[in-house]
């Protein structure tokens, strides 16, 4: 399968795009419930207010989170080396992420079962952690992809990863973490502004505007850093785009500013970061104008464009190695076999539209704003 419409190289690009689609789906969908979770104690002052805020995401967050679960599953099936190296390499960060994510199903599921102020505020805290910590860690992880992660492969091709948890907390990675946190908090509050009644919606507009301002500053700062000082990676030796997935056959050079190569090469890609900034400005303005729907659309644009910006910058790298750059994982040498990629593509083509259709139906059933009065009828624990 070296040529034809589904040449190995083409399949690899398609699967890189699918991974991007899943990440974007995750940021748009799970993004708003992570953002709402992280903001719940600010948005709701009384128990009834908090219940109204949580009720805006409770019926849908579970489905939203599957975008993340599926992203992990797709990485396992389509990019097994990426899945193996990143999850084992970021061991303690992944553990922290996992524990935070575990707090969500139990937080949403258990909070309202008992009418006790301390019980409920404890779960509100759990949901804040469960929303905020993953939102921060995703950016920290992306920041570390830009920096490169210390790993190589042994003679059996087992990934060997150096560094510990604290080595992940490079200032650039923390900056990227704030970018993702502010981006998802914006998404959550734009959603809440649209979905919950006053006075929670007013608080959501305030917090959303603050988040969009922080996003703009940090996104620009990260861009300037990448342009002026950050070493980037570029493939410098031969790399067969349809070759076997053996990440040890190429050479890679580290050059400052190399993460912008793709933008210089195809200036149309500059649209991605520009749209991310415009989206954030738009969300800020629309929230000010109390146009919550428009703000949510603008915020969604921020999610799409920010992830595209990162993806374009890194391409074709999936995970650069800072210690053995030649062994970095790229789109061309760390995928599954062509056969697996083709079968999985067929499955995605059939089932993703079905998923989108029933998800849209569920949201249409649940349309409408949620006010404090609405939560009273659900009292009683079911």
């Amino acid at each position: 399968m070296t040529d034809g419409p589904f040449a190995y190289a083409t399949l690899r690009v398609i699967w890189w795009l699918i991974l991007g689609v899943l990440l974007i789906g995750f940021a748009i969908m799970d993004g708003f419930d992570l953002g709402v979770g992280a903001s719940v104690t600010y948005l709701g002052r009384s128990d009834a207010e908090r219940r109204a805020v949580l009720l805006s995401v409770e019926p849908v967050w579970e489905g939203n989170q599957v975008w993340f679960i599926l992203g992990g599953g797709a990485a396992f099936a389509a990019w097994p080396l990426l899945y193996a190296t990143s999850f084992s390499g970021l061991y303690l960060a992944m553990l922290l992420l996992l524990m935070a994510l575990i707090l969500r199903p139990v937080g949403f599921g258990f909070r309202d079962k008992v009418q006790n102020a301390r019980w409920r505020s404890a779960w509100d805290g759990a949901l804040t952690v469960g929303g905020g910590v993953p939102a921060l860690l995703f950016g920290v992880a992306f920041g570390n992809l830009f920096l490169g992660i210390p790993f190589h492969f042994d003679s059996l091709q087992r990934p060997v990863v150096g560094g510990g948890f604290f080595s992940l907390l490079h200032p650039f990675a923390l900056l990227a973490g704030i970018v993702s946190l502010s981006m998802l908090v914006l998404q959550g509050n734009a959603y809440a502004a649209m979905k919950v009644g006053e006075p929670m919606a007013a608080r959501a507009r305030t917090l959303g505007r603050a988040a969009s301002a922080i996003f703009i500053v940090c996104f620009l700062a990260a861009g300037i850093w990448v342009y002026s000082a950050l070493p980037g990676y570029q493939v410098s030796g031969p790399l067969d785009h349809s070759g076997p997935s053996d990440p040890m056959r190429k050479t890679v050079a580290i050059v400052t500013g190399a993460w912008l190569n793709n933008f210089h090469h195809r200036p149309v890609f500059w649209l991605a970061p520009i749209l991310a900034l415009l989206g954030a400005v738009g969300a800020h303005v629309f929230l000010h104008m109390r146009e919550a729907r428009a703000a949510f659309v603008a915020s969604t644009l921020v999610q799409v464009a920010t992830i595209l910006t990162a993806g374009i910058a890194l391409f074709p790298f999936l995970m650069p190695s800072s210690t053995y750059p030649n062994q970095s994982l790229t789109v061309w040498d760390s995928s599954s076999s062509a056969k697996t990629l083709l079968i999985m593509l067929a499955v995605v083509v059939i089932f993703l539209p079905i998923v989108l259709a029933y998800t849209a139906w569920v949201f249409s059933v649940l349309r409408g704003r949620i006010n404090v009065e609405d939560v009273q009828e659900h009292e009683g624990g079911y």
Partner: protein, 513 residues
Amino acid sequence: MIDFDVVTLSRLQFALTALYHFLFVPLTLGLSMILVIMESVYVMTGNEIWKRMTKFWGVLFGINFAMGVATGITMEFQFGTNWAYYAHYVGDIFGVPLAIEGLMAFFLEATFVGLFFFGWEKLSKVGHLIVTAMVALGSSLSALWILIANGWMQHPVGAHFDYHTMRMELISFKEVLFNPVAQAKFVHTVAAGYVMGSVFVLAISAWYLLRGRNIDFAKRSMAVAASFGLACSISVVVLGDESGYLAGEDQQMKVAAIEAEWHTAPPPASFTMFGFPDVAARVTHAAIRIPWLLGLIATRSIHEQVRGIDDLVAQARAQIVKGIDAYSALQVLRAGPPDSPDAATLQRFNANQADLGYALLLLRFTDDPSKATPGQIDDAAWSTVPNVPVLFWSFRLMVGLGLFFIALFATAFYLATRHRFERHPRFLKLAFFSLPLPWIAVELGWIVAEYGRQPWAVDGVLPTFLGVSRTSAGNVWFSLAGFVIFYSALAVVDAYLLIRTVRRGPDGMGLSP
């Protein structure tokens, strides 16, 4: 080269987190189906009590579902964090059913579960029933794909080793999909989940009847549980027998270990009902045997042998020797130019690559399998024997519980048809105290299937010890401690909520007329 602290800790962590996850999954499977039955009756009859039943059991379902989702995320993470080499080595095949599970099954289940709880007022009767059915369908489909993945670990079909990429690669998706082991495991496991749901409903309803609370509600619930449970408990045992037959074909060592069949006996082999397997002496003391039975279960004939452990170890030894040939050829291929391999070496590799996994067993005893001594080969061959006493006892207890469930549900079914539950408090007590038994049975089932596959992560392909990540023992200690503390706290909260909800009951929650 292999850090055995990391291996031991990673295995312990996987076993604990998988066994813990498996406390919740079968109940989700079973209760979701029971909710569909109850709500169907509501839609067909319009009798409000069936709606209240659906809502009440739905609350318990929801508490359990949250735990299942929470602990399921761990499983997906763990293949990467702790079993990175496994993920790389078999991701090309194993990752496929996992990803399809997410797309086809978990999405369905998770998207509709919210509407199950919050859609009662927003949907028509039939609309809501469809939502409930989608949740149940999603959870059963989820089990299907997970067991296709697991079935491949038990019986790896449709794949071969590629020396360019140093991993197993998919040849035939059809074979992976229609793997007979996966099919048998799916129906056995799902039916076990349905039995658990039925025992859960039966036991809690019995408690209400003993207390004289929610009489109509509990009797109807018991009738559903009794009929559904009876059908499913018979299926579990029959389909478990199918698994046994298939294991007899493909995983002979597992069957031999379960039966403590130390030596090949002339066919048809007898079934050891009871006894004390002695690993050191390789005999079973005080054995009570039923003639012919094992031969019939495992081979469905009276002429075929059920091979004993010593025979299978000898076979493993021969496979190790062939595997060493593949391993040495692989080293030569890896050292040479990747795109123009030496033809003779490639042929030598291809001829023996099916047994490459057996050579990898030697990495436990030597860093270089190609220079293994006969003593090391013997050690590796004997390392293919799983823990006989654990399997022997787990299996017997599991089967005993399976037979008990049939008797329990048959009795319940009889009493349900006669409307006589209240007159038999002793049966109600028995039903109530049976509550923990399905959990014991399914955990034992996991042990038989997974511990019985040891020393392999993927049977004959990848030894478990080799599958671990090259991380530090300190990291795994830390995560294991984290899981123990975190999971224990969650268990306390979960048990508290379940007990509290049952105590409040439909009458305490505004769900009685």
